[in-house]
Amino acid sequence: MKKRIALKQKVLENNDSIARRLRAVFESQKILTLNMIGSPGAGKTALLEQTLRRLPSGLRAAVLTGDIETDNDAARLARFGKPVRQITTGGACHLDAGMIERELDKLETQKVDILFVENVGNLVCPASFDLGEASKIVVLSVTEGDDKPIKYPATFAKADLLVLNKIDLLPHVPFDLARARGNAKRVRPGIDIIETSCLSGEGIDDWLRWIQTRASAM
């Protein structure tokens, strides 16, 4: 005899319940938390370097940066005098909500207006794990190909902003900006899109304005 028990239970309920707890903390303390996702080398750390350098001092930023190994990114970002903590996943290809919660205790969150979470370089796995963020942001560089939004729809479908990075390289690569924008809008009609170059500084003001608008709405 076989007996079937209906469940309808989320497999990642443990993660999601921690994420709900984190979201409640962020909302009550008015911390804008941004989960930044992108391939290795898309420019997530470079964008954060520009951000920490130029963000108006009235907005107090902190960073949690995830990698499988090394604290290289934390060292790069610590130069700007803002609180930065490295999360080393030791093999895991994404951050999960528990990792954020453990690190949050070590940040003085009452002194933070914006928490940047730099996810592990990966366009697939981070999409499955809610970190309690206000928004997911995808950083896509023009050297990667304009079809990425439809190749990796899970990540793009949940993002509020697409940062098209390294646009200074456009003359040298067969990347069609209009096609990339069209593909992103197809997967996620409401997505905002900003074009940046962390080398020339182009578009960084647009990105900072996007953050400020979100932060002032908290």
Binding site: K2, K3, R4, I5, L7, A127, S128
Partner: protein, 114 residues
């Protein structure tokens, strides 16, 4: 490749359920995987097989169904299946539609042998 971790969470739930039913022997688990979940079904099955071999779950069969993306129109509230990433509302043509399903990773049922 995060399917091994997801397989582990899935087995934890099955184990809890088995305990709740007097240590019954779980023989099958029904899993629904959304196409936007970021989970690959084959990798998940491989992960489950690696974790269950030689354990009390050796006979556990994973029955995986995939769920398509579903959106709801913000203008007319129509709910529809998204085909080929086309998120425009087929009823009224509105482009602003909201994701309401297709990103799930859930256990639908567990089957026990009595």
């Amino acid at each position: 490749m995060h399917e091994l971790g997801i397989a582990k969470s899935l087995l934890d739930i099955v184990r809890d359920e088995a305990r709740r039913h007097g240590q019954a022997r779980a023989v099958a688990v029904g899993v629904r995987i959304g196409e936007l979940s970021g989970v690959n079904s084959k990798a998940l099955i491989f992960g489950l097989e690696s974790l269950t071999k030689g354990t009390e779950f050796d006979a556990l069969e994973a029955r995986i169904e995939t769920a398509s993306q579903r959106n709801r129109c913000t203008a007319c509230n129509h709910e529809f299946l998204v085909v080929n990433h086309n998120t425009i509302c087929p009823e009224c043509g509105e482009s602003q539609t909201q994701l309401i399903g297709g990103d799930e990773i859930e256990i639908v049922y567990v089957e026990f042998e009595e």
